[in-house]
Every structure is written in C-alpha cells, then in structure tokens.
C-alpha cells in the first residue's frame, strides 16, 4: 500500500530526503498538467512546477500533517505562482502562447495517443478524418479554455482536468463552495458556447 502524502511529509521533516523525491514523482505530472492548462505554456509550466516543489521543500518544516491536505496545499502554492506569472506577462505585454502540445516529441502523452491511433486497425474512431477532427477539437478546446477569464478557468481546470472535489477547490482558491460551483457551471457554459460549432459537427 503506498504511503500517504502526509506520511511522506513527516518522513521528510525527519530528514529523509527520499520521501520528498517520492512526493515529487507522485505529483509532478498532475501539477505540470494543471499549470500548463492554467497558463497555457508548457515550458513555463515546468519552471513553475519546479518553483512550487522548491517552495514546498523550503516550507516543509512548517507543514502540519492533518491540518490541510498536501494536495490542496500544493495546488494553492502553484495557483499563486501562476497568477503572479500571468500578472507579470500582462505587465510585459506578452501574448498568449499555447505550446502545451509539442507535436511528435517523445514522451508527450498527446502525441503518443495520436501515434497509437494512427497505427491502429480500421475502426471508425481510428480513421484519419476522425483523428483529424478530434485533433481540431482538442486544439479548439485548449484555445477555448485559455480564453476563459482567469477566475473561471482555474476552477474548471481543477475540477474537470485535475478531478478535485468542490471542497478541495474551495480550499485551494479560498472561496466558498457555493461560489466554486457557480463559477464552474459558468465556465462550462462558456466553453459549450465556444465549442458549439465543433461539437455539432461530431
């Protein structure tokens, strides 16, 4: 049975640095995914994810197991870093760059999935035009998510991509559960309206 995050943090607080490595291995993928979807930039996502883990490393002695979930604490730190990054970009006048998918790069989950589809037998869902349509849809979806206002985008990513509960999202964003629910519903409605032309074609 894998150790709980709190147990690993306790081990790390006692000086076992391998426990911290385990925590990083466990959370690196979801964290990078969250940051990449939130700020829409894969390279910056890796930087910010590393910064998040460094903050956790430094703040570990003050972490109280059982007081807050490690997961929500981690997302809270990452969320603040992302907001700072977006604010800095706004000041620098840097435009949105969606490089969350780098085509054909080894290790990239999206490219791997599409390669598998390309080499699969003649199922309808594996046909080139269907694959192309889905790829277009994914691009449109990424763009639509990126265009959502920040206060709607963040809870949507946490809920529908990261799979957090409403209570966890409320803790991360420090807002009331009712507000979380209404923001997520609003974000989904906005996405639905943006994707209507694509969805009706499928």
């Amino acid at each position: 049975m894998p150790e709980l995050d709190d147990e690993l943090m306790e081990r790390f607080q006692k000086g076992d640095e391998s426990a911290f490595t385990l925590l990083v291995r466990r959370h690196q993928q979801p964290l990078i995914n969250f940051i990449a979807r939130f700020i829409g930039d894969r390279d910056s996502a890796e930087d910010l994810a590393q910064e998040t883990f460094i903050r956790i490393f430094q703040a570990a002695p003050r972490y109280k197991p059982g007081h807050a979930q490690f997961n929500t604490w981690m997302y809270h730190i990452a969320s603040n870093l992302c907001k700072n990054e977006l604010r800095d970009r706004g000041r620098r006048g840097r435009h949105w760059v969606d490089n969350t998918v780098s085509e054909g790069e080894p290790g990239d989950a999206a490219a791997d999935a599409e390669n598998r589809i390309a080499s699969a037998p003649a199922d309808v869902s594996y046909q080139p035009d269907v694959v192309l349509e889905r790829k277009e849809l994914h691009n449109a979806l990424r763009k639509a998510i990126a265009e959502l206002p920040e206060k709607y985008r963040e809870p949507l990513v946490l809920r529908d991509i990261q799979g957090l509960s409403y209570e966890e999202i409320s803790e991360v964003l420090e807002i009331r559960p009712g507000t979380t629910k209404s923001r997520i519903n609003r974000a989904r409605l906005m996405l639905k309206d943006k994707l209507k032309p694509f969805m009706e074609r499928l």
Partner: protein, 185 residues
Amino acid sequence: MNCLQAEQHFSAHLEDEIDYRTLRSFEAHIEACGECQRDYVLFAQTITEVEALPQVAPSPHFMATLHQRLAEEPRITVPFWKRLVYGFTLPRWAYGALLLVFATTTTYVVYQGALFERNPGRAIPTVEQPRQLPAERATPARSETRTRGPAVPPGFAGTSISSQPMQHYVLKQVSYTNVPTQGGL
C-alpha cells in the same frame, strides 16, 4: 423555470447534486424546451471532451533540473522554539481554556499579595496553623498531649473520657445505661 434558470442547474443535474423540488421543475422545463435539451446534451459532451484532454507530461529532464535547483537553494531551518510553538497544536478552545486558567491564577496571586499589603498584621490561617478553640488556648500543655478525637467542650475538660479514643467512649456510654446488649451494640 425558464431557460436561463435551467442552465444554472446543468452541472448540479449532471453531478446528481440537485434537490428534489428543483429537479422536478428542471426536468419539466427540459422536456418542454427543445433548445435547452440540445444545450444540455452539448454541455455534457463538452465536459466529457475536457476530461479527455491529453495530459501534459513532464520532460525527461524535470527531476534532474529540480534536484539541481534544490541543491542551490538553502534549506530553511526552523529554530527550536518556533518548532515547539508551531508543533504544539491544540484546538482553539483549549488555548482559550489555558489562557483563562493563567489569567485566573495570576489575578488570584496578585490579589492575595495586595491583601497582605493592606492587612500586614493579619495572618491568614493555613493548614499548618489550625485555629484553636478558647478552652485549648487556656490549657496548651494538655492540648499538646491529645493526639486523637474531637475538640473537648469546656465542661468535659479533665475527664478521662476526653483522653480515650471515640470507640471506647461509645462503649462506655452504652454500658452506663444498663441495657442488655446481648454481645453487641
């Protein structure tokens, strides 16, 4: 329920988090409104597509870069007293209770000190110095020899009963009444 109100409940309906009364009016509206029916289906499909978005994987150098950056970062060490304070975790009411006990004790000690200052000649009775009855004060030598039993009333001072343990005193009293005890009291 109108269309605008209905779309506020799309998520709640999809996630089964809608109360019974709202559910009935929501479903009644959806059945009657073709536009909302289509919107609801699109809404559900959108969520499915968002959930199915491919994950962004970390690059192969992620861990190595992180370790390198961590090695450059100074490790913050928390002083012992801070660890003691932060590590001493109690519920809020317990901190309140501790504060109350501390405040009460402090007030008592301060008040007692002030009382002594106001009445310097008055000794406050303590356990070590029990208050003595006037009769005993008159015969300090005898009261010193007495080790057990209650204080002796003035009329009985000097009788042999006073120096006897209480159990003997009761037995004697019974025997003076000449009532047959049949081996017991």
